[in-house]
């Protein structure tokens, strides 16, 4: 019996050690970004210098150097005020684009999902399966035709060029249709009897009952847009840069501005970090929603 207890104890110890080592490996890079952003570059790039464990006092110096290096605007405010916003402009652009994209895509996908779940119309099945088929395509890779299309439409270097191409998100419509199917037909029918219009059925009944799936989907959509890099790199010019493209600009072939990059990385991680801490449940259900199969 004592032998079994001892082995159980060793097992528990190994399990905890494994988990804790992995947590340390996960947290150290994140912690190091924040620390490095407060240090002068020499402090973390000189050979043999012991890493500092606590923040230094150079954050504002690094921040103002970063602000001077980048000239990024936001909407029409830079012209209105006659000044650019440096890296803060990139944060504003990224947040603005991701929020508009998420809202637009939620409306489009939920409306289409409602139609596929609750109405009968011609070619419903073939159309739906065509959309499903595009789920397997890496849609971020369609940059070449999109670039040509946008330049033909005169939409290069606009926010719309980044927002519109993925607003009709195949995964979004699929998730919405699956969830809307569980909406009882009797409920819709009785609302119809009471004189509700079809749009009211969608707006007043379907949407409010879909709150949790809408939340999960909005996390998926927001992160998708937040991490887009290839297409913004191709289509945007300096004044409208989003966070990924702006940081990429600091990585030059001759010189990499690590101190400034670490400030930029710290600032860019904070919004999503907070969102993650407060909306953890939605993050998890968003990740899982993306992994469901029919």
């Amino acid at each position: 019996m004592r032998e079994a207890d001892r082995r159980e104890g060793v097992w528990k110890f190994l399990t905890y050690t494994f988990i804790l080592v992995m947590i340390v490996l996960t947290i150290v890079p994140l912690y190091w970004i924040v620390i490095a952003s407060t240090l002068p570059e020499e402090a973390f790039l000189t050979a043999g210098t012991a890493p500092q464990l606590f923040p230094g006092g150079e954050f504002w110096a690094n921040f103002s150097a970063l602000q001077d290096r980048l000239n990024i605007g936001f909407l029409m405010f830079d012209e209105l005020l006659g000044t650019d916003f440096g890296f803060l402009g990139a944060i504003a652009n990224s947040v603005f684009i991701a929020v508009v994209y998420t809202l637009l895509s939620l409306v489009i996908c939920s409306m289409a999902g409602f139609a596929f779940a609750k109405y009968e119309f011609r070619f419903k099945e073939p159309i739906f399966y065509t959309i499903l088929a595009t789920l397997v395509l890496p849609i971020q890779l369609l940059v070449i035709p999109l670039f040509l299309l946008m330049s033909q439409l005169g939409m290069t270097n606009t926010y719309w060029a980044i927002i519109l191409p993925w607003a009709a998100n195949p995964l979004g419509i699929f998730l919405m249709r699956q969830n809307m199917k569980s909406l009882p037909d009797a409920l819709l029918e009785s609302a119809r009897m009471d004189g509700a219009t079809e749009f009211q059925l969608y707006y007043r009944i379907a949407l409010p009952t879909m709150k949790s799936s809408l939340a999960a989907l909005s996390i998926i959509l927001f992160l998708f847009q937040w991490n887009l890099f290839l297409f913004p790199l191709v289509i945007l010019e300096g004044d409208k840069y989003t966070i990924p493209v702006a940081i990429n600009q600091l990585v030059g072939a001759q010189r990499v501005y690590y101190d400034q990059i670490m400030v930029a990385a710290t600032l860019s991680i904070i919004p999503i970090f907070l969102l993650f801490l407060f909306l953890q449940k939605q993050f998890v259900s968003g990740i899982l929603a993306g992994s469901v199969k029919e």
Binding site: R122, L142, Q152, L164, A167, V251, F283, I287
Partner: protein, 336 residues
């Protein structure tokens, strides 16, 4: 129906023809008003889907048979939207048939990009899925406390921006960076993480693994919750130890989820772009970490060889689609 048929027997007049068309049209369109509403709900989706997804998919294929020589100033078509006039200019395209595809076969850089991608993939995906699985099983153990807190901390990298975290790895892996400091302190030789071909690929493997392990762990953890507890109890009665329970209960029960994780990670690695471009920009030799998507980007938007880049894109789309179909097939078999 009867009146409709008799109309057709006599010689049709204009009004008859019109009525016939109207009848076939109303049969083609949905009869109830609610059916027509469906089209209103679907309209915005289809406009955007058609313009920005269906059209580009077809257009990429079309472009892959041409050599692109630029866009001329000659307007072939314009749209007057009232507030804005859109001019569509003529594109100079020279048909080259399958030349772009045959060129692919002897393109050393394409082979290098393919090799790098597959090399990274073969190391990174098993490593990450392995760690994610062990973590999920560890966190699922009944005696482990603070499960929620541990899960949150392990999943934190999900919140890091793809480009931002790549630059952090660029810093950590510098010749004089934190990782080499730890190595030399422990008495090892510093590793040329960014300047050697092999180690710069390892840097990408490490970075991608760091970013996505927690994400996959969440999916696997959810899969573990669905494994019936009775199976473990039955295995215990049969005298199975921990390893045997893991081998004969957990793994087979998790198979569909594991498969999903494997295939999505494989596809994700095929789409690798931000990490290699940052690591390359930060000084690693181009050939050692160039990935397919990075090569497509350079061909299309630095060399402006849009036709050839389209052919490359189609090869990649084909590979990724086949992988997805394999996933759905295998997953489907298992569910049944």
């Amino acid at each position: 129906m009867a009146t409709h048929d008799s109309n057709r027997e006599t010689s049709p007049t204009v009004t008859d023809t019109l009525r016939y068309w109207r009848q076939s049209l109303s049969k083609a369109l949905p009869s109830t008003s609610s059916g027509r509403v469906a089209y209103v709900f679907l309209a915005p989706f289809f406009v955007l889907f058609g313009l920005f997804l269906a059209f580009p998919i077809v257009f990429t294929l079309y472009l892959s048979f041409f050599k692109f020589n630029g866009v001329t100033q000659e307007t072939v078509f314009w749209l007057d939207l009232g507030f804005h006039v859109i001019e569509l200019n003529e594109m100079q395209l020279a048909f080259v048939g399958f030349e772009n595809y045959t060129r692919l076969l002897s393109d050393a850089m394409f082979h290098q990009a393919m090799f790098n991608t597959v090399f990274i993939l073969l190391l990174q995906v098993p490593l990450m899925v392995g760690i994610a699985l062990l973590l999920a099983v560890a966190l699922d153990a009944s005696f482990v406390r603070f499960k929620g807190l541990f899960r949150t901390m392990l999943a934190l990298p999900v919140s890091a921006n793809l480009v931002a975290y790549s630059t952090v790895f660029l810093l950590l892996m510098q010749e004089t960076g934190l990782v080499n400091f730890v190595l030399t302190t422990l008495g090892f030789q510093p590793i040329p993480w960014l300047s050697s071909d092999f180690w710069s690929r390892m840097t990408i493997v490490g970075a991608v693994t760091w970013r996505w392990t927690g994400y996959n762990m969440i999916i696997l953890l959810a899969g573990l919750q669905n494994v019936p507890q009775q199976l473990y109890e039955a295995a215990e009665i049969d005298g199975a130890n921990r390893i045997e329970k893991f081998r004969y209960v957990t793994i087979p029960q998790l198979r569909p989820v594991l498969l999903f994780v494997f295939v999505t990670s494989t596809i994700g690695t095929f789409k690798l772009f931000a990490e290699p471009i940052i690591i390359n920009g930060g000084g690693a030799p181009l050939e050692s970490t160039i990935t397919i998507v990075q090569y497509i980007y350079m061909t299309a938007f630095i060399d402006f060889n849009l036709g050839y880049a389209s052919a490359l894109t189609y090869v990649l789309i084909a590979v990724v689609s086949v992988l997805s179909i394999v996933q759905i097939r295998l997953g489907g078999e298992n569910d049944a």
